[in-house]
Amino acid sequence: MSDIVPASAEAVQRVREDPHRLGHRAHGEGAPVMGAGHGETGPANSRIIVGYGFWIFLLSDIVMFSAFFAAYAVLMNATAGGPTGRELFELPRVAIETGCLLLSSFVCGLSFAASVAKNRMWTQIFLLITGLLGAAFLYLEIDEFIGFAAQGATPQRSAFLSAFFSLVGLHGAHVFVGLLWLGTMMAQVQAKGFSRMVQHRLLCFNLFWHALDIIWVALFTVVYLMGAAT
């Protein structure tokens, strides 16, 4: 692109007259920093672009969770005479939920490794196990919610319960969306094999599922363990 000229002759004069290159340190022709996308080596490949885009989307999702965490922290003691966390929470159930999600995250990682190796059978088997464990988690959580409601601990009862149901429910909703996505991905792997797009989506799904587990770590610690302990 070294063939561009200005619109007027004045420009030439201004180049010569411009004495103040103040505030500009010359960069020199130093060696470009290796690494596509940062430094000078030009656009990154599409896998990195997709992965990175999804990564920052996930970070924004985590910020959304943090707003619900903040609301929970502020409203934690606003029980309005209703049941407290200490009275409601059943830690054994939470421990099983945690186990399901952790194993699910682990198996999801295995499915990702299988997909990088382009092994369709193992990818599908691991994805299926991931989904089943996720579904088990979701079942336990819904069962817990129904149990709470039966004791009169509905989100309408107090601000504490509103915050609790919203925070935990938001995570549950993410798991549900993840399951829908997972089903779609299994169908795509079966129908299309490991095309470039499918590979990208599996990478993103893997990130999503691990991120959900990270959020769950914060959740069971702040909500359940600290709620039951204090």
Binding site: S46, V74, T98, L102, F106, I214
Partner: protein
């Protein structure tokens, strides 16, 4: 954009988050297994810590938060393959920015709301009567 097609063996010097290119399947499984083991230990630790009574009661939340942060680190390193290497700079910077926002929002909200709670605590009705201004005749505009 087809010149940018993905070739798993030529990722150059940059990674997509979650990727760990050019490794054998055995390495992947190994990595995930270490992560699972560490995460399990930390999770079990979190759950039994309150029951064990090893930690002084009031400091229990701090201990739990430390364990949780440790576990998040394990997930990031072993499941999401986030490292400190130059190939991960952008991923780590984005993560740091996200963590900063989460910290500002959660800590800021708690601080502000606790402070307001402290200064605006409900007071008994007799204290309130002292604060009321003497009742003046309300000026209602004729239009109403």
């Amino acid at each position: 954009m087809s010149e940018l097609d993905y070739d798993p063996h030529d990722l150059g010097h940059d990674h997509a988050p979650g990727d760990e290119p050019a490794e054998s399947a055995g390495h992947w499984v190994m990595n995930y297994s270490i992560g699972l083991a560490l995460a399990t230990i930390l999770t079990v630790g979190s759950f039994i810590l309150p029951a064990l009574g090893l930690v002084w009661g009031p400091s229990l939340p701090v201990a739990l938060i430390v364990l949780a942060i440790a576990q998040m680190g394990v997930h990031l390193v072993f499941f999401l393959h986030i490292t400190t290497g130059p190939d991960n700079t952008n991923n780590v910077l984005a993560l740091a920015f996200g963590v900063m926002m989460v910290g500002l929002l959660v800590i800021g909200s708690i601080w502000i709301m606790a402070n307001m709670h402290h200064y605006m605590a409900p007071m008994p009705p007799e204290a309130m009567t002292h604060m009321q201004a003497p009742a003046a005749a309300p000026t209602v505009p004729p239009a109403f």
